[in-house]
Amino acid sequence: MTTSQDAAGVKRVTSSITRIKRRSLSYWGAQIARYTILLLFLAIFLVPITWIFSLAVKTQAEFANNPLGLPQEPQWGNFMQAWDQGRFSVYLPNTIIYAVAVVIGVAIFACMAGYALAKTRFPGRNVIFSGFMIGMTLPFLSIMIPIFYLARDLGILGTRWGFIIPAVALGLPFSIFLMRAFFMGIPDELGDAARVDGCTEWGVFYRVMLPLAWPGLATLAVFEFLGTWSAYLMPLILTQREELRPVALALPLFQGRYRADLPLIAAASMITITPPLLIYLVLQRRFIEGVTAGALK
């Protein structure tokens, strides 16, 4: 077994050598041009973030002398200072609560609605689906005034619900669209088989369909989590009390207040972007799936 693998390996190497020999100068020229451009763009995206990270661990004095280079003595204390002055011990938990609550709310409602739209037939189905699809185009701007007064009149404006409930409602169009597409990909026969075995409609949804729609649900969760994390206008309107703010709203205000202290703002920015960046690095496939599904399906 080892020998046959070795033989295959040798064969592959020799064939790739001949391929390299056969390839012309223009091929290598094109490769060099391609990688030059790709690496240039890599730098365009990475340099700003790297610069901000190195800025975040500099003293003001070092930043004045050495604005572009890497820090000599990283000042990790800057993060503690930004954490305290920026009240991140309040805003970060807020953000996590919002993101988790919105994910749970959207997942429950969008799964049920997406399932009904994909797997059952009922009068008004197309109208309801089109109604939800209009919501994908409407900007939040178009409802910002009435939703403020609505939240106030419902008595939820000064509470976390004042942001969570509208955010769930606004997340529905895209999420229903996504879950409907996923349920449509599951064969009807699976549900029919369960029905023959005496499963109730709820049982078909909960025990048969939902476990199979798990990848869609994961995509939805990552997408909604990161979307809620970075939402700005919605909390600007709907979190009227300072202690209810999420980080994406708090950071620009922090920047306005400490305009002169660039390292401090950089440290606060790093605190804000690190959690979503980590989630993205681990679960990027899900997030990218969500984005392309929204656009292509």
Binding site: L117, L141, I143, L296
Partner: protein, 307 residues
């Protein structure tokens, strides 16, 4: 079928029960979402439209119905046209720039060369940050006399990098657009990547055998197959450019001297800073109408093409 309609005629109550036993599950599954959506999206939208027909300022108990006055005022308001023209510039420069670069990069990596995952991860990364945070980061980069670009300009002797783009009314919009393009290339890039996977490789090979050069292969083989994706991406870019608010608000709030004002920031200023709720609502209604119109046109285009 026959018995069903007979029994339906026979007893109203029985048919109701039948209806419920047949569709009850579907409706109970979809009802929570529908209620939430109507209460928190559709109803406020209808209210927005109504407010746009009044002179309401937010705190007066009276809401005077003034018909289309706000819309007529809008047409004569130079600031509205300034903001609108900035949205048009956003569509042309911002979305077309990001779409072009996204497509270009997607083509460069569509054969998944070594390093593909790194390129995709990094190019798409700014999407995760969200436009408000991107605005904060780029304010640091643009910071006058101390920002990244200024310092690079100082180190390399390139004068143009030391000009403060955002403080100058001539260039403030351009400064925001650079940041926005930086952030949105990745979005179009991943969509084109997904689209390119469906491009027929055999056709490309056939074209190559027939002696087509790279440009001809791209223009005559790849683009026609991508046309569906390209239409859709342009529609998304245009709708996104109309809705833009966050990044402008965190970077310049529309200033200096309205030089980076867009419809979104103008509507916000009118609604909340000047408490002209009626007038602000008229602006967002125009924005929404244009966005819906664009998506309808786009759906029609797509249907006509038959896919």
């Amino acid at each position: 079928m026959g018995t069903q309609s007979l029994s339906a005629r026979a007893s109203q109550g029985q048919s109701g029960r039948r209806f419920w036993s047949r569709y009850g599950v579907s409706y109970s599954f979809i009802l929570p979402a529908v209620v939430l959506y109507i209460v928190f999206v559709l109803y406020p939208f209808a209210q927005s439209f109504y407010i746009s027909l009044t002179d309401w300022n937010g705190f007066d108990p009276v809401m005077n119905f003034i018909g289309l006055d706000n819309y007529l005022k809008l047409l004569q308001d130079p600031l509205f046209w300034t903001a609108f023209s900035h949205n048009i510039i956003w569509i042309i420069v911002g979305s077309i720039g990001a779409i072009g670069l996204g497509l270009f990069l997607a083509i460069l990596v569509s054969s998944r060369p070594p390093g593909f995952l790194i390129f995709r991860t990094v190019y798409f990364m700014p999407q995760v940050l969200g436009p408000a945070i991107v605005g904060v980061i780029w304010l640091l980069i643009y910071a006058p006399r101390r920002g990244f670009l200024y310092k690079v300009g100082e180190a390399t002797g390139l004068d143009f990098l030391q000009r403060s783009l955002l403080a100058n009314p001539q260039t403030s919009l351009l400064g925001i657009l650079f940041a926005s393009i930086w952030a949105s290339i990745g979005f179009f890039f991943v969509i084109f990547l997904a689209g390119l996977q469906n491009v027929d490789r055999d056709l490309l090979d056939a074209a190559r055998v027939d002696g087509a050069n790279s440009w001809q292969q791209f223009w005559n083989v790849t683009v026609p197959q991508l046309s569906h994706v390209i239409t859709m991406v342009i529609a998304l870019g245009m709708i996104g450019s109309l809705k833009v608010f966050d990044i402008v608000w965190t970077m310049t709030q529309g200033g200096p001297a309205n030089s980076s004002e867009v419809l979104g920031t103008l509507a916000y200023q009118e609604s909340f800073n000047h408490t002209h709720h009626g007038y602000g609502s008229a602006i967002v209604m125009v924005t929404s109408a244009l966005a819906v119109l664009m998506s309808v046109v786009f759906i029609r285009l797509r249907e006509r093409r038959g896919d």
